[in-house]
Symmetry: C2
Amino acid sequence: MWRIGQQAVLCRRTQQLWIRGFIEGGEVMTVEIRIQDDDSLEITGKFDLLDEDGNAYGHHGKLRLCRCGASKTKPYCDDSHVEINFESKVRA
Amino acid sequence: MWRIGQQAVLCRRTQQLWIRGFIEGGEVMTVEIRIQDDDSLEITGKFDLLDEDGNAYGHHGKLRLCRCGASKTKPYCDDSHVEINFESKVRA
């Protein structure tokens, strides 16, 4: 839920209401894409996962996408990166 | 920019301002992760790209992440999927 803080001034002459407001909190969670060492991409938050045709995958706000190329359940990770000894430790 | 539509009632006795408002538009863009055929993950919107230690990568709201496992510039795609003839056409 959004919490809206307001300061409002009512202009008597124009009957216009001037509002200086701010919006705080709310449910907009930044989407996080974490590149795990020798492992998949872990994605959390509110996002649309689409195929090439624009069809959306249903999801619950947290999933792991294959980045080693070997998963048999692409786009999802199925831990094939362990079988193929996938190595990739990246740092920002 | 947020456009805030308001209906406001000023209670003279309590000097409280009751606002029935709605928020429309604004800049909250849903993050889109598109799984491209035989190609990378194309990601657009407002998101954090983090390494295993939680360090953030700077970006401009659109990037391509490798999902074939062969990129030499991981986590980013460098078109190595073409060289290795990576094949993956997934549908939701």
